[in-house]
Symmetry: C2
Subunit: 547 residues, 2 copies
């Protein structure tokens, strides 16, 4: 029999890097195509985050070279603020390290895993280190670092480090180069194209493995308003979180703790929380025990507290999105987009935007989704974004997809087979932005199906659907009217002639009057039978009821 | 403009516990029902692993109490070897800690996350510590520990620790008690029932929140043969792994390294690897650089190396599974099961087993899957296991489900709508066991769709399908024959009488002869038109071709 002591000898710590190395599919490294895309994606997302946060209009240079067989060199260069040399090793060579995890503010990265996971994957598949060039404004030279990720310790191993005199980065910026196993597919370009749609203020130059160059230009020369950092909202707080906050706070009383450390809690709401919880508002935070914490949490859910501030969100904007889509799809028959008001799930503000591109040539309608599970040539193309980042895999596992499927598209003059995506010549763009997007896995490919998110996403899709429907009805009516006029016109000459013969009046004049009459009749008819407007009303009522 | 120095101030380490606390849905804590199940599951899985590894026939006591509203106390007690007191805090209060991650051996747990994630979730939702009673054979007293998980450090915080004189655990064993937010649903019983099917040597006593007691008895009084630990197989090794192995090895030459550290590599294969890689077999492992590593890896894939040893696997066994299923479903019309020979993916041995339970009463056919996405009242119930652990969620994301859907069930006399699960009064059990099951997420609910796994799973399902089909055809034939005999019998008296009158012979005798003739004809016909056997041949040929 194996004893407890035998077991004890075998038990040891597992580093988070060892864990993710063995489970690399959890980070999105399921196959070579996806792995190559991940490398581009994580570097580009980081660059855009850095530029935006520093207030710099992003200018990115992305290059992919195929050095041999299945080995690729990916390099991404930006004009961001640069990274100080002390931080470079850990930013690129340590999992779970970064500035975005511990704050509530909309950004592309949020876990501190992304870019260092590429270092992990590169060294696992090719043994090559990640190379980083960084230029910060305060330092004259470029700092060059070559590093590995020590998986046993989850710490960077610096291979080489030096100051360079070259001037390849201008005033400030970062260039990163990674060498990894991969497979090149069109999805990289899809990713860049979609990134350009959701970041119309970014300029991206791209060189593909075959040497082809492509530039994704700006359609806007201004950065969006920078999102602010928010404090936690009482509606989303859990026992353990509140307990930790109480331990760490500098506030002297429960009352000041509540007003200082939470968003949307003024003195009045704070007093009300204390009153409902039957807890003394002058209690010292450090003295608050488990029983009281539970009472406070219950009270927090009961008291009516204003929704969190919304300046922590940075949507693309309906106008900007429409402009982007028109630039990317100049041949589209109809383009529209909407931005909803923000809503809240578990105390986190979020917001949904939807864009519709209708009536593209068939050749444009290629399915550029990474996975094959939604392969249906008739379905519309769904383009999903989370905090401006395109989501290219796991479409069917995504809450946003679920919302689109739940909408009754026949109401908006689109085809739909029960419970699936609508069909027709349409691209549907859907964007969630939030201070904390709940993804279904670390590879950040699909949004978890929180009911609040699905509900808002449905309303957003319906808003845009009505605009589309309005266009399609107009098109339909115009077509109908034209067809009727053509029929009457075909016979009106003959009718007018006959009437002219019978009444001895001028046939031509009769014909003209007939035509005028027909035209006005059609117009009146259209106004009378405006079924469409009624439908809009019906839809709106539905939504109000649901709320 | 925000500078690089400003960014540097904000960058910091994220502990793995903070990460999983914020992303708790990744660990399976999406909703209260699932969270409660997770607590039972992780504790039971750990207990079964410990008992099996120590060579003890497991005897578990599971209790769930509902103390108020949505708060539950889950306790699981086993008769395993116990845990030495020094290890208790980290086993229950530190994520990524354990004995199973760094070795290749079939076990239920493999990540070192499970049970400590329950401590994390309990304290997050109720603030309550996890309580552990442990009795090891070498120590007279029970050791009691109450602990929290410090999420900032990912280390245990011990609240209370003492030796107790009580005799609640016998010679040895562990009892763990966790207090958490949850919701009680039937799925807990489904989990225990399925666990009992896949662990027929375990006895589990269960007390539900309403006080109902249930015992899941043993159907076998012997433990399965213990799986052995295996060394990595060359076919599954990656650059980074090989590099690390070369750094850590005590072997003096490349040749001895290859034969000592890998499974299935003898001197001959090792020499061949060196020869193909054009590398000196006497090279010191420490001196092997990146270029040589790459050559060795390429050569490893080229050389024909025996499959890994299979004694690291511990299947349920076809007989044992059948016995379990007959015990659980005594009313079933037909029960069968098969165990495939092991196969290998990425150097990891794995094996598939399938069981079929056919012809249950409709009332038994409740859908006991956790998620609703496969809700189709006509579909068969699919019961999935990985290393003897029931998988109760994410059915549609699971590679095992995919395999079942890919089989053409109409061949086996079962209904099936294109590409979906078969329909009919059947329960289909499918079990994968492996030294490393690739799950699609940390919550271990679905197996990743590796092509090798899907292929083997399909073959396994087809094997079992043929057995079912054979039964169903026999049943069909027997039914047909009976019907024909009934028809002839109905008229044979009259015919015999008439013939008797015409031929002046004894009507009774003629009737008897007629009946004998009919019976033998039916028999001959059945043998002649044995379409079924032909189909089996066809199937087998298909499989051989695929191989």
């Amino acid at each position: 029999m194996k004893t407890a002591e035998d077991f004890a000898k075998e038990q040891k710590e597992i580093s988070v890097s060892e864990f993710f190395e063995k489970n690399k599919h959890l980070l999105g490294f399921d196959n070579p195509t996806k792995s190559l895309l991940m490398a581009v994606k994580e570097a580009v997302d980081n660059s855009l985050d850095a530029c935006e946060e520093a207030g710099i209009l992003p200018e990115l240079i992305v290059k992919i070279k195929n050095t041999k067989e299945d080995i690729f060199v990916v390099s991404v260069q930006d004009n961001g603020p640069g990274i100080v040399k002390e931080q470079i090793p850990r930013v690129f060579g340590k999992l779970l390290y970064g500035s975005k995890f511990h704050r509530l503010r909309q950004s592309r990265g949020q876990q501190g895993i992304g870019i260092s996971s590429i270092t992990l994957y590169s060294q696992l598949t090719t043994g090559e280190p990640t190379a980083v060039w960084s230029k910060v404004e305060s330092h004259k030279k470029i700092h060059y670092t070559e590093l590995h990720l020590n998986t046993v310790k989850n710490e960077p191993d610096i291979i080489k480090e030096e100051d360079l005199d070259k001037d390849i980065l201008g005033e400030h910026g970062v260039k990163v180069e990674m060498i990894l196993h991969g497979r090149y597919r069109r999805i990289v370009e899809d990713y860049l194209k979609q990134t350009s749609i959701s970041n119309p203020f970014a300029k991206i130059s791209y060189t593909a493995p075959d040497g082809t160059k492509k530039i994704y230009p700006r359609s806007i020369n201004e950065l969006p308003k920078a999102p602010k950092i928010m404090k936690p909202h009482p509606y989303g707080v859990e026992f353990g979180t509140l307990q930790r906050m109480l331990q760490k706070t500098n506030s002297k009383t429960l009352l000041s703790f509540l007003t200082n450390e939470f968003s949307s809690v003024g003195t009045q709401s704070a007093r009300q929380i204390c009153k409902i919880a039957k807890v003394d508002e002058k209690l010292k935070p450090a003295e608050i025990d488990r029983v009281i914490i539970e009472k406070i949490i219950k009270a927090m859910q009961t008291v009516k507290i204003q929704r969190p501030p919304l300046d922590c969100l940075s949507p693309i904007g309906a106008n900007e999105l429409e402009k982007s889509l028109k630039r990317e799809y100049p041949d589209a028959e109809f383009v529209t987009s909407i931005t909803r008001e923000p809503d809240v799930y578990r105390g986190f503000p979020f917001l949904i935007e939807v864009g519709i591109v209708y009536g593209l040539q068939e050749e444009e309608k290629k399915n550029n989704n990474g996975d094959e599970d939604e392969k249906n040539s008739e379905s519309v193309e769904l383009i999903r974004f989370a905090n401006r980042v395109p989501l290219l895999y796991q479409q069917s596992a995504c809450g946003l997809t679920e919302a689109v499927k739940e909408v009754d598209w026949r109401r908006y003059n689109m085809g739909q087979k029960g419970g699936s995506l609508p069909s027709g010549p349409m691209k549907l763009v859907i964007h969630i932005c939030s201070v904390w997007v709940p993804f279904v896995s670390e590879s950040k490919e699909a949004v978890a199906s929180y009911p609040e998110i699905i509900k808002e996403a449905k309303l957003a899709v319906q808003d845009a659907g009505r605009k589309l429907s309005s266009y399609l009805s107009g098109k339909h009516r115009a077509g109908e009217a034209k067809r009727r006029i053509q029929i009457f016109e075909r016979y009106s000459g003959e009718v007018a002639n006959s009437i002219g013969l019978l009444t001895k009046k001028d046939g031509k004049e009769i014909e003209k009057k007939l035509k005028d009459m027909i035209a006005s009749r059609i117009h009146i008819k259209n106004i009378e039978s405006s079924e469409h407007e009624e439908e809009i009303k019906k839809d709106k009522n539905d939504n109000i009821k649901k709320k």
